[in-house]
């Protein structure tokens, strides 16, 4: 089942005029704050009605303004996880969880309640009231409530934005499990590069009300010409499998036949991991460096160089482990004589890979 969206809607500061499609898995709408991401999700949910729109989910048309078709939100059956949880304060956690069930049509496939409760670890909270929950707990309950309404798709609008770093780290793995265990499309809005890197099956980059790029996380994030949050926040995604944990606390990964070392990961041997390598943490060297403290040295070839207005440049290097993005100065690029096709080494310090940038 695929979600396809075409819409046109003038807003205060910009005009949304875009089209994209979300296959099963997590499609991340990625863009800076104020780029209209929430409006897109609300249009899909039916909470706002775009001036022009053609939105469909599989065979079901949610809106077709040309034919005057518009399905009200309660008939769309899309589980919406809001940034601010929006649990019903007068109901217990359990009553919140099963709220949507009574409205689901007979015979629709609902996730078993026990499984969702177990997956989200909210068993001990069932009798509590939303007012007595922490922010992270609330968001897990909101996710469970959306799942148990027998949704055709899940919409999540910056579900982690209101949480502190520790709570984010607590919730993100649940979305990862959801992506891997639930068959319906998930449309996920964020302006966090780490969330994109860890969750996205597909990335849709939104800029000035338009879709500027759509592709896999590895493709989009390693493209130096697509940096919706600026070069400072750029970073590519590498995929690897845990092969060993070492006594000194390092975790060894196999990425396309290359060995990578990260600081202690909690993931067991055999886990497939995605890790985001921030572009500004990558050093480039023409010769293979020796006597260097950095543990990860990836030989590769320059595939693209993008110089901006300022002194910086973004260089993407194709290595055996995947494409890496490096943010260096234009002066260095000139001094190293970097051009498309130049062979060089990308050097990544193990400790520069932040734990929140690594996920299963």
């Amino acid at each position: 089942m695929k979600l396809t969206v075409e819409m046109y809607q003038p807003l205060d500061a910009l005009t949304l005029d875009l089209a994209f499609s979300a296959p099963p898995g997590v499609t991340v709408l990625f863009g800076r704050s104020g780029s209209g991401k929430t409006t897109v999700v609300n249009a899909v949910a039916g909470l706002m009605k775009p001036v022009r729109g053609r939105i469909s989910l599989g065979d079901l048309t949610l809106q077709d303004s040309d034919q005057g078709l518009w399905l009200p939100p309660h008939r769309r059956r899309l589980g919406y996880v809001f940034q601010d949880a929006r649990l019903f304060p007068h109901l217990s956690v359990h009553q919140n969880l099963v709220y949507g069930r009574r409205f689901a049509p007979r015979g629709s496939a609902i996730e078993p309640e026990e499984r969702v409760i177990e997956m989200l670890g909210i068993g001990p909270l069932l009798q509590r009231r939303p007012g007595a929950l922490s922010g992270g707990e609330r968001q897990r309950v909101a996710l469970g409530r959306a799942l148990l309404s027998a949704p055709r798709a899940i919409l999540a609008d910056e579900p982690l934005a209101a949480l502190d770093e520790a709570r984010k780290a607590e919730i993100l793995p649940y979305f990862e499990r959801l992506r891997d265990e639930v068959a319906i499309p998930i449309l996920y809005v964020t302006h966090s590069a780490a969330e994109v890197a860890r969750l996205a099956t597909t990335v849709v980059v939104l800029q000035d009300g338009r879709v500027v790029r759509q592709g896999t996380a590895a493709e989009v994030l390693s493209d130096p010409s697509v940096t919706p949050l600026g070069a400072r926040a750029a970073g590519a995604v590498l995929l690897g499998t845990v092969v060993a944990h070492h006594e000194d606390g390092l975790c060894e990964l196999d990425a396309g036949g290359v060995r990578l070392f990260l600081p202690g990961s909690v993931h067991p041997v055999g886990t497939a991991l995605r890790l985001r390598v921030a572009a500004q943490e990558v050093i480039l060297s023409r010769a293979r460096p020796e006597g260097l403290s950095a543990l990860n040295i990836l030989p590769g070839t320059v595939v693209q160089i993008r110089s901006g207005e300022g002194p910086g440049a973004l260089v993407s290097i194709r290595t055996q482990a995947g494409t890496v993005l490096a943010r260096i100065t234009r002066r260095s690029a000139a001094a190293l004589d970097l051009n498309v096709g130049t062979e060089c080494h990308a050097v990544i310090k193990s400790v520069a890979i932040a734990p929140e940038d690594v996920g299963g």
Partner: protein, 230 residues
């Protein structure tokens, strides 16, 4: 209550009956008006708001007189109801109508405040979970405005118990028919030696009013705690 005479006893039970009916009948209408004023934008909204508040700002005698013109034996609505077998003028049903009209603005104001305090984003969330507008109202809005509904109902009831001016103008002061507690107090004070009887009714009035207030506060507190999500 053995010390109450039959006339006084009649006034007390009649007051309770009139007030209970007035509250029960105007509550759904007050809810609708409050909801319309709080949530809907429509032409004539300001006019509706004015109409709702009219009994609060007009002299009660005027309200009573208008009721008499409209619902009295000569009024159009009065004749229509008469043909259906419902007499309002100089009848306890008319006292209930007068009490309902006078309490209406207070009820609407209390309920409207509570509707405005309901976060519409919660109602949106309910809609995304599959609840139609009616279900959203029943399962989310209604429980959340319950404290306001209770407060509005109690206010309306208390106002009905104390209503005097419009009642006496519309339905007069007939013992056993339309003589509520305030009318009875007024009547006894007109008669030499009636002061002690009046004083007893005054005491009953105070006790009933205070009891209603305490009851409403405790119910509203409990409801507010529930709604607060604790």
């Amino acid at each position: 209550m053995a010390m109450l005479g039959p006339d006084e006893w009649q006034a007390v039970t009649l007051s309770l009956k009139v007030s209970a009916w007035a509250t029960l009948l105007s509550l759904p209408l007050a809810m609708l008006a409050a909801h319309a004023l709080a949530r809907w934008r429509f032409p004539g909204r300001a006019l509706l708001n004015g109409l709702v508040h009219l009994p609060l700002i007009m002299p009660p005698v005027v309200t009573g007189y208008v009721l008499l013109m409209v619902f009295g034996p000569a009024g159009a609505a009065g004749r229509l109801l008469q043909s259906l077998g419902l007499t309002l003028a100089f009848n306890w049903t008319g006292a209930a109508l007068a009490a309902a009209v006078m309490g209406f603005p207070l009820m609407v104001r209390a309920i409207r405040l509570s509707i405005e305090a309901v976060d519409p984003r919660l109602e949106q969330a309910a809609a995304t979970l599959g609840a139609s507008r009616v279900w959203v109202f029943v399962t989310v809005t209604l429980p959340l405005i319950l404290p306001g509904l209770i407060a509005g109902a109690i206010l309306g009831f208390a106002k009905a118990m104390g209503e005097f001016g419009a009642t006496i103008t519309f339905v007069s002061n007939i013992p056993g028919q339309t003589q509520t507690i305030p009318s009875a107090i007024y009547a006894f004070l007109q008669v030499p030696g009636g002061e002690t009887t009046a004083a007893r009714l005054v005491a009953i009035s105070i006790v009933l009013a205070l009891g209603a207030l305490l009851l409403s506060e405790s119910v509203a507190r409990r409801a507010a705690r529930r709604v607060g999500g604790q």
